[in-house]
């Protein structure tokens, strides 16, 4: 009996009659991953029209990117905004998740709902609402403005990730520490935090990426010296297909994979 005629599992039809499922699954997986990955070789193409496979290889679009002061300034802004967002959103979200998890008051449900609103409200509405508010406060195009907006977007992500880690954490360990004389802060920092550390690191990485990848709010409230990379990319793409953006895309894909890979690796090592 060949592999094809064996049943796929103890209650299943044979592999042969499920070949269509394997084919479809592989096709959909390819649909998901290939279009993004194909940009990588194309970014090394010499021609103005991005070809695949490139007839002549060159680093010309990378040179164009690194030699342009405006792209470099926007990249620096995006990195700074991402770092500041992670630096603010991680403690804010962790404190909120911890406080609401331990206190178990009647209104914590409402507080959680309020903290989740940034994930529910359509981002275009957030963008124009912030634009309107920042105009009154003279904060349009300010660095602080973009960091506050991105932190607000990232807080619910931190809260969800740290919150779900806390749910599987046994709080009695903290009680033991406190009965032995630790203050609540000491108990959290020395007993709880190390054990939910993976969730905290992951949420910091995702906060950074949330800010780094955000387009719509940046489109409305960032500009001038503080324009973000995504804002510049979006505006450049409205007019024409600029091959420089293929180079930037490649760098962003590599950076995202590295960041997530490292945080996964750290998590595996900790466990």
């Amino acid at each position: 009996m060949s592999w094809l005629d064996r049943p796929a599992s103890d209650t299943q039809i044979s592999h042969r009659s499920r070949l269509w499922l394997y084919g479809l699954g592989a096709l959909v997986l390819a649909f998901l991953s290939v279009p993004t990955l194909i940009v990588i070789p194309m970014s090394f193409s010499q021609s103005q029209y991005l070809e695949f496979p490139p007839r002549e290889w060159s680093l010309r679009w990378y040179e164009a990117y690194f030699a342009s002061p405006s792209w470099m300034a926007a990249t620096a802004t995006s990195f700074k905004a991402g770092f500041c967002t992670a630096l603010l959103a991680t403690p804010l979200g962790t404190l909120a998740a911890y406080g609401l998890h331990v206190s178990r008051l009647r209104f914590t449900g409402i507080a959680i709902l309020a903290l989740l609103t940034p994930t529910i409200v359509p981002v275009i509405l957030v963008g124009i609402a912030l634009f309107y508010a920042y105009v009154q406060l003279r904060m349009v195009n300010s660095f602080l403005g973009i960091v506050l907006a991105h932190t607000m977007l990232a807080v619910p992500i931190v809260m969800l990730i740290v919150g779900s880690a806390l749910k599987s954490f046994d709080l009695d360990q903290e009680r033991v520490a406190r009965s032995l004389g630790a203050t609540r802060a000491q108990a959290f920092l020395q007993v709880t935090a190390p054990q939910i550390g993976f969730a905290i690191v992951t949420s910091a990485v995702l906060s950074f990426l949330t800010s780094f990848d955000e387009v719509v709010i940046a489109l409305f409230v960032s500009g001038g010296d503080n324009a973000t990379l995504t804002r510049m990319m979006f505006l450049a793409l409205r007019d024409q297909i600029d091959p420089t953006i293929a180079a930037i895309s490649t760098i962003m894909i590599v950076m995202t994979s590295l960041l997530l890979g490292i945080s996964q690796f750290v998590g595996k090592r900790d466990r």
Binding site: L32, L100, L125, A133, S164, V215, V216, M233, M252
Partner: protein, 306 residues
């Protein structure tokens, strides 16, 4: 008589101590809940107040007096109806295609051994965390007139003239399905993994064929995941801006694009806010409906939890 009873204060003294302890506990809990205050403050200042401000703005006319002008215009001008119909059509089509592609993929992944499934999950998660802009750009490059799909299609003799694949509704749909598919697959996969295989064995032992077992046992049990994924995709589609703006070529105007145009081209804050309020209300209605349908699984429950 145990020792504890001897120390038990009687009557009013006990009530007094109990009240003090309750007060203490309440104070401690309030202090703990207070840890959420900075985050709540931030969300209030940067989201709730500005959106509330816009909400108020949508009820004012140009002279600043109360009026329903902006909402009335939305009902009387057919172009608004077109915008809403386009938004619903694109969102619904995206959701349906995501179900058609996502369900078999999630099922396929849930049947694989854990290790192989985790490996395949990378292909789902990589686009999930890649910048939306990068992914939309990739489609722009692939679908343009001189793009990869057209070049290869002609080379293989499938069609002779370059096809218009982007800057229209079709291109927008392809891009949106690509971006939304992980949001469908993740909750579905979680739900399917959690289904107890013994239920299918029980069905088989009672004489059901594999196909019959799938439709009567597996499929109904996977529905909460499907509802969670579908409602999440639909709601996210309703508020989409970047992909229609880049792949639609000005021909696909969804509500978000119209709001942006009202602000950027016409500086019409009243009209934009009114549209925003309607978009928010529709979004909330879909979410509440979905939460009812999936019986507490909610749009966040199945995805994040499992």
């Amino acid at each position: 008589m145990s020792a504890a009873d001897a120390y038990d204060p009687s009557g009013p003294a006990r009530d007094f101590h109990a009240a003090a302890l309750r007060r203490d506990q309440w104070r401690e809990r309030m202090g703990l809940a207070g840890l959420a205050a900075p985050a709540l403050l931030l969300v209030t200042v940067t989201l709730l107040v500005p959106v509330g401000w816009l909400f108020g703005l949508s009820f004012l006319d140009d002279s600043g007096a109360f009026s329903l002008e902006h909402y009335r215009r939305m009902l009387s001008e057919p172009s608004y109806a077109r915008t809403f119909i386009t938004t619903f059509e694109i969102s619904l089509a995206t959701t349906l295609i995501c179900i058609l592609l996502g369900y078999p993929l999630a099922y396929f992944l849930s049947q694989l051994p854990r290790r192989a499934a985790n490996l395949c999950m990378i292909a789902v998660l990589l686009p999930f965390w890649t910048s939306l802009l990068v992914r939309t750009y990739a489609w722009l490059v692939l679908l343009q007139r001189s793009g990869l799909i057209n070049t290869w299609g002609i080379k293989l003799g499938l069609w002779s003239e370059p096809l218009q694949l982007v800057h229209n509704a079709g291109g927008t749909l392809i891009g949106m399905v690509h971006i939304m598919l992980p949001f469908m697959v993740l909750p579905l996969y979680g739900t399917m993994r959690a289904i107890d295989g013994n239920l299918l064995r029980a069905a088989a032992s009672l004489g059901s064929t594999p196909v019959h077992g799938f439709w009567t046992v597996f499929f109904p049990l996977s529905l909460p995941g499907l509802a969670a994924g579908a409602s999440l995709v639909f709601v996210l589609c309703l508020g989409f801006y970047v992909t229609p703006a880049m792949l639609g070529g000005g021909k696909v105007t969804m509500v978000s694009n119209r709001i942006a145009n009202d602000i950027e081209l016409f500086f019409n804050w009243g009209a934009a806010s009114a549209l925003g309020v309607v978009l928010l209300v529709i979004t909330l209605m879909v979410l509440v409906l979905a939460a009812r349908l999936s019986r507490g699984a909610g749009p966040f429950g199945a995805g994040q939890g499992s």
